[in-house]
């Protein structure tokens, strides 16, 4: 009897073990096969696996960089430039995509027939055209139709738009660090104040004007640094300069290159359609009874929106929207198609061409994106747990 049972147990265990062992064996064999081949191939080309090349001189230039960079810097520095450019265009894209997406999403629920229809068609049109085509359209067709440098479009004499890019005033700070610290201080005090306000509300039922105090802190403290902290800000306005009879350039100010403009435009307009759908689904997802219940206990319309509808709608909206932010960041790699120097173009493009170290460079690039994605999804899981309805 005992023996029989033992046998059945063993066979069950075997049934579970065999596919697992086969899977692992298969994986290990594939990895060994690839490694051997890779070693062979690299040996034939006279390169050995390693990341030492990162500290070598890169000797190529990058057209647009947020930090100091030229050909004498290392490959690691070039990687950093690319990464920063990716982060720059993603943050711009995320900001405008959210703005546009929320507007369009609310617009789709408008009572106004025209607004609802326009919002719907905006979504249908921009969602169903490949992003890369939209980038091409803005870069090669729309922005190329802008005037030449000499007759730029003039925005109130401080900012100029032409085919070479968009020239905006440069901020010149004195004592920027004091200003920066004041903003951090303001943020911290806002957090403490809102905690205090919540405590007051929970314990004594007192409503403190959190919003106005926060706004006051956020505006007031930095303003104070201008008045007494010795912080000052001046603008360097771009000026037209004639180099020869036909060649004009803008000197001074900050130039935003057309690659960045078209990429940011396309990314935000494309992603906004998805965010709009999320926002719409979120607001529709709040039960009508919730609004009616809130109204029946005497909350005002603004209070209903702020205290009842939004917290529930946000719970539906935020997870898929974070996913869209992640998609936007990954989609920013399409920059390579129009030569915006992001991480893919700079590192997986130029640096790879020069060094020929395909395995190292592609792995670094993929790992960068992977760690970005994984960290956001870990954060998302934490956030989801935090805002999940706590049922008793």
């Amino acid at each position: 009897m005992n023996l029989k049972n033992f046998k059945i147990d063993l066979s069950n265990k075997n049934k579970d073990l065999i596919p697992q062992i086969l899977t692992i064996l298969f994986l290990v064999l594939v990895i060994i096969y690839f490694t051997i081949n890779a070693q062979d191939n690299m040996g034939n080309r006279g390169i050995s696996f390693g990341f030492g090349f990162l500290s070598q001189e890169s000797s190529f230039d990058i057209t647009f960089s947020l930090i100091d960079y030229d050909g004498s810097h290392s490959y690691a520095r070039a990687f950093l430039v690319g990464l920063l450019n990716t982060i720059l265009v993603s943050s711009i894209g995320i900001f405008f995509a959210t703005l546009l997406g929320v507007t369009v999403g609310i617009g789709r629920l408008s009572q106004n027939y025209l607004i609802a229809k326009s919002a719907e068609w905006y979504v249908e049109i921009f969602r169903n055209i490949p992003l890369i085509l939209q980038i091409f359209f803005w870069y090669f067709a729309a922005l190329r139709a802008l005037p030449l440098t000499v007759d730029s479009i003039n925005f109130y004499d401080i900012s100029f738009l032409n085919v070479k890019g968009w020239y905006v005033p440069k901020f010149i700070w004195t004592n920027f660090s004091i200003f920066f610290y004041s903003i951090i201080l303001a943020t911290i005090s806002i957090i403490f104040f809102s905690r205090y306000a919540r405590k007051q509300r929970d314990e004594f039922g007192k409503q403190l004007p959190t919003f106005y105090v926060s706004l006051g802190l956020l505006v007031g403290l930095p303003l104070l640094t201008f008045l007494i902290g010795g912080v000052s800000l001046s603008f360097q306005i771009p000026e037209l300069e004639q180099l020869s009879t036909t060649v004009y350039v803008y000197k001074g100010g900050v130039s935003i290159i057309p690659e960045l403009i078209s990429l940011a435009l396309a990314l935000s307009m494309y992603t906004a359609t998805f965010i709009a759908e999320n926002v719409r689904a979120g607001i529709l997802g709040v039960n009508k009874g919730q609004k009616e219940a809130a109204a029946s206990i005497g909350l005002t319309k603004a209070q209903i929106l702020k205290l009842v509808v939004m917290p529930q709608a946000l719970r539906i909206i935020i997870p898929p929207t974070t996913n869209q932010y992640l998609n936007l960041t990954k989609n920013s790699s399409l920059a390579a198609a129009i030569a915006y120097p992001d991480i893919v173009l700079v590192f997986a493009g130029t640096a790879l061409m020069q060094t020929g170290r395909a395995i190292e460079i592609i792995s670094i690039t993929m790992l960068t994106y992977l760690s970005l994605s994984l960290s956001i999804s870990v954060f998302m899981n934490w956030y989801n747990k935090k805002i999940a309805i706590k049922e008793k």
Binding site: A38, R144, K330
Partner: protein
């Protein structure tokens, strides 16, 4: 002076007059270049139609007027001052920008001729699209052999069409033929090499047909892989579960363009020296694995949404793992996630232009190539508008079809 029901006619006439003037101003401004509010300060003149229109709409905003048309206008376009302003802005923008766009598209556009010099009008030069149309559809595929692509696609469409009408018994075999035999026939027909067909290398494939080929193959292949990955991720065997999780998260975490880069430069390093895998095959593998990871997550959503009772019922009937999944679980789970599957397919179609990174030119890539042709410089707008229109029609039709399918398959309980 609040608008009321008592003086309905006078308020409507009064408001209508204001609205009429505001529209007249905009229309004259756009079509005849006349500005009869020009005597006002420039900013005020610019906003005059908006202000007049808002006042007019305010006067006709009378609730329960008894007039059906008026009530309809008020509830749909004019419920508050804010809505009134939005309505006016939308209408004025349409009046101002639709005519120039239509002019560019149709009325001033050039349709006849066969060179850039024939484009004399101020509108779009559709001659460019006409001349390059063959290339946009077939890429660099030799003209004399294009019947092969045509017949492959006609065969595909007739098979798909037939599968809608034949009885269920034959349908099963037709689907198996479509999924397992047809891809080989189609590929052989297009690439050639045997049966007296001239060999056409994949570098010459291109245009819209390549878009279809890539998306169709990736679509057929990524579905089963995604299904097994989804099952693997929910498996109770740790080795299989963690392998699936790792595989899915790896592909989902990186952009497709880096995957394609990998297939182009890194993948050959992993193969024995001297082996050459065709560019198109490598791209197909890369896109398939990439989309399979997304497909797996979508299918997993369906598996998770099924009530536990379904599993228990299947087990109590004595079904094993595979029978349970293929007969009970997957048919229900897949039905639940049709919108998600359709979205993945849509994303796949929209991702195909990215194959330009390995030098394969489908529609968008061909437009890129055509616009740099010295004889056709400055045609970027026409090219991209055409390509955008084609993609839009495909994707919009697909999304509509999936919505219908969802409605048809929903089993209300």
């Amino acid at each position: 002076m609040k608008p009321s029901k008592e003086n309905l006619t006078s308020f409507v006439i009064f408001g209508g007059f204001f609205i009429f003037i505001s529209f007249l101003d905009v229309l004259l401004n756009t079509f005849l270049n006349l500005n009869f509010t020009g005597f006002l300060p420039s900013k005020l003149s610019y906003f005059a139609p908006l202000i007049l229109g808002t006042i007019g709409l305010y006067f006709i905003r009378i609730e329960f007027s008894g007039n059906k048309l008026l009530d309809k206008i008020n509830t749909n376009f004019n419920s508050t001052n804010f809505n009134a302003i939005l309505t006016l802005i939308v209408i004025f923008t349409l009046i101002k920008y639709i005519p120039p766009i239509l002019n560019w598209f149709f009325f001033d556009a050039n349709f006849s001729g066969n060179s850039k010099e024939d484009c004399t009008g101020s509108g779009a030069c559709w001659v460019f699209v006409k001349v390059w149309f063959n290339r946009f559809v077939y890429g660099m595929y030799p003209d004399a052999e294009q019947w092969r692509i045509n017949s492959a696609f006609i065969l595909l469409f007739s098979l798909v069409g037939a599968s809608f009408f034949v009885p269920l018994k034959i349908k099963k075999y037709l689907l198996i033929f479509l999924l397992f035999v047809y891809p080989i026939i189609g590929l052989k027909l297009i690439s050639g090499g045997d049966f007296g067909l001239k060999y056409v290398e994949t570098g010459a494939w291109g245009g819209l047909s390549l878009t279809f080929i890539v998306s169709a193959f990736a679509l057929i292949l990524c579905f089963p892989i995604g299904m097994f990955l989804a099952l693997g991720r929910r498996s109770s065997l740790p080795a299989i579960r963690y392998t699936s999780i790792g595989f899915i998260e790896l592909w989902r975490g990186v952009p497709l363009i880096t995957v394609l880069f990998m297939s182009a430069v890194m993948f050959p390093m992993f193969l024995p020296d001297g082996t050459y895998v065709d560019k198109l095959i490598r791209v197909l593998i890369a896109i398939t694995l990439f989309e399979a990871a997304y497909m797996a997550e979508v299918i997993r959503g369906g598996l998770q949404a099924l009530p536990k009772g379904q599993y228990e019922a299947a087990k109590s009937l004595g079904m094993g793992y595979w029978r349970m999944h293929f007969l009970i679980i997957l048919p229900q789970a897949l039905k639940l996630v049709i919108p998600g599957i359709a979205n993945t397919f849509l994303a796949l179609v929209k991702d195909t232009p990215l194959i330009f990174v390995v030098g394969l030119l489908e529609l968008a890539g061909m437009v890129n190539l055509a616009k740099t042709n010295p004889k056709w410089l400055g045609m970027a707008m026409e090219g991209y508008v055409f390509a955008g229109l084609v993609f839009w029609i495909i994707c919009y039709a697909m999304s509509r079809y999936s919505q219908n399918l969802e409605k048809k398959l929903s089993t209300e309980r």
